[in-house]
Subunit: 137 residues, 2 copies
């Protein structure tokens, strides 16, 4: 079953195209979506940690956060202990935007509709195992 991986990659490539499309419906870029996703569980992060989560250089995050902040969906907060650090938090507006986007992304479920209930359950359990694997941290 060597090509299980290739099937997964096919899925990823096919679904990849949907992400910027749905993001654009909310006037968001993919990195902006990613940032909101990381911050959404009421988890403020300093710029550096956010850069890490986004998998890009810290210098990019400055611009990404600039644009999100100009839109009022995130805020830079000063951290009492260390005045170098700026902590990024989602605003109420940002939370609403993120939830709306996420519902839209999950709402349209074309893929699993071709499977029976039993098959869907089996796929779910296998994927859960895969996602829980250490490689995906």
């Amino acid at each position: 079953m060597d090509d299980t991986w290739e099937l997964l990659m096919d899925l990823v490539m096919a679904e990849r195209a949907r992400i910027p499309q749905i993001a654009a419906e909310f006037r968001l870029s993919p990195p902006q979506v990613h940032a909101l996703r990381v911050l959404s569980p009421e988890q403020p992060l300093p710029m550096g940690r956010l850069a890490c989560a986004l998998g890009c250089d810290a210098s990019n995050v400055t611009g990404i956060v600039d644009r999100l902040e100009a839109r009022g969906v995130v805020e830079r907060q000063v951290v009492p202990g260390d005045r170098r650090v700026k902590r990024i938090v989602l605003t109420g507006e940002g939370g609403r935007l993120w939830r709306a986007h996420h519902e839209r992304l999950v709402a349209d479920v074309p893929l699993v509709s071709g499977l029976s209930a039993d098959e869907q359950r089996a796929l779910h359990d296998l994927l859960a195992k895969v996602v829980a694997a250490p490689a995906l941290g």
Copy 2:
């Protein structure tokens, strides 16, 4: 099993990050990889069709093909019947580059390693069914 879809999206998001990384190892951008992927099965395409396959505006494809052509991995060919059309073909060098990239992408198989042989087979069969669904055309 409503969250099967969400698990799939988690996978997609996690794997998304690997694509530009591995592409960069071959000094390719994601759209360039996508273009080579589309052209690789010995299937030359005119600019417009390539834009369609890449899901972006035709004006972008000019630049993408410019850079690939400057590198010698694709060529613009004139089509006899209609002198407006330019057909993009992969060069021998381009074919080698694409195969090297694809092997590298598929070589590293971290995800399915956490499953037993039976589980891998089951996942394979379910994914095959999902990928074959009309929504993925």
